[in-house]
Symmetry: C2
Subunit: 331 residues, 2 copies
Amino acid sequence: MPEIRQNIVTKDWIIFATERAKRPEDFKKHFAKKEEKPDFSPNCPFCPGNENKTPPAILEIKKDNAWIIRVIPNKFSALVNEGIPQRKTSGIKRIINGVGVHEVIIETPAHNSTTGLMEEENVREIIQVYKKRYLDLEKDSRLSQIIIFKNHGKSAGTSLEHPHSQLIATPIVPASVRQRFEEAMRHYDENGVCVFCQMIEEEIKDQERLILEDDKFLAIIPYAAYSPFHIWILPKRHSASFGEINQEEIKSLAGILKNTLAKLYYGLDDPDYNYCIRSTSIDQKEVKYFHWYLAIVPKVTKIAGFELGSGMFINVSMPEESAKFLRELKI
Amino acid sequence: MPEIRQNIVTKDWIIFATERAKRPEDFKKHFAKKEEKPDFSPNCPFCPGNENKTPPAILEIKKDNAWIIRVIPNKFSALVNEGIPQRKTSGIKRIINGVGVHEVIIETPAHNSTTGLMEEENVREIIQVYKKRYLDLEKDSRLSQIIIFKNHGKSAGTSLEHPHSQLIATPIVPASVRQRFEEAMRHYDENGVCVFCQMIEEEIKDQERLILEDDKFLAIIPYAAYSPFHIWILPKRHSASFGEINQEEIKSLAGILKNTLAKLYYGLDDPDYNYCIRSTSIDQKEVKYFHWYLAIVPKVTKIAGFELGSGMFINVSMPEESAKFLRELKI
């Protein structure tokens, strides 16, 4: 019998199609073997020596006089960092001019590196840079929401293979982000507890959906995961804004993120994936009802007519099984 | 300067990335040339003569003693049509057993047919069958929401190329569907008018986003379309439930749907697409605030980290330009 589980955070219902269910190993097949990549690619605009092919850097982290991380404005920016957002409404038409920020974080000089295989120290530096950019942009009163994300692999939307993440800051709070806040607020009002704090407590007690855990963070496959190997990495300390992450937490997150991605790399043959940091909006950073986290979504599911029409997802793998597979995988 | 437009119905914000904007013709390139298909394929379970490869039909429409449309249960059903939905809650875990309906509508005996090129009469029969199934399932008190949809082409999620649509009925109202109702309800309370009726009136006055119109229906690219060539076909008469469509409206919808899909076929070289019918939930079919419609989404956009993290979409085509392109295309 299939199960329909509800995501306690978004209230989305997910169908677990047990009749079509696959074993964790079966998802390997989804991923084409990647070609061997060189550690330097002469035409790659993100490789050292090609800095003149990108806009000037906003921030560079250096080691022994060479950059190890570089933040640049996106050359094909979705939003423009000039002017003041102005909202106009006329009948059904509502519009704001596209003021905002779109940056690229080049994560390493090595063209063929990938987070799961990096030194933990490098991953720590990347998260450190995320925090720096977050805190800097938070001061810009034109902005409402900062979204940090990564596209790994072609099917996940990357056009350049050199390891990089992106940051987009928008002058509005996206509707679906606002809806998450509303649901979380309602949970807090009804139960007097942050829904994520409650989830963390129950997931630690249950154990079955845990992948990794230390004293600061845990990685789980949520009870109502949207798709196979959909992973959440959550800080144990209640905190609504990613910008509030402290040095010890950065160290812990770097380890958990690196090792979770290494498990995906070895367990599923380097799947394409997206990750994003879900943080609160800039204007509500101290709220008790929201809790930031990082979501990793390997690219295994297509969005077709049913997902379009219902907003529901059909998941063909059980979170408990996939979590066990990753938890027990030796890396 | 990019624009950020808000969808008045869902309150979603869409970024129109004018710096990256493409001309309507450019989207042709997204679609691989389809191979010539035979009108009969011996191994296709949906071709005439292979009826024993599918579960027994729920409904058959016949002409001259042969079926022209066949409705069957989905062999790999996401939900199971037995038992009673029972909801259980324990802490963060909320679950319902997967009771529901999953049917396939085989639209024609011809393996290589496609809606845009069919006789209008065939399209009328398909919509007639949608209505029959909708009204039949509406009586099942275990069900809450009926979703009718079509996946055309591999990238849109089809595994079988023989023309077919699907129907899934769920025992819950999906969260994102519920949110649309809430937004529409709020609009009605604030303005005393159905947001869709208002949109129809303004779109007819504006003309610039119109593709096709007759006295019963219109096809538009919405002001805040999520993706290039995202199309809505709306009935002019206020009606919350698709099941309430009358015979004259079926005739009109068949013409508008066929001709809109023909314009996509010739204008964009037979793009892969999904369509779905967005109807009200079964228990609120006479409400004044919701209005059913059919949405067509050609597969041109990938969902990557930004869409995942924000729920926002970046559209690289302007609705006014794409609508003009389709409106003026002679078919």
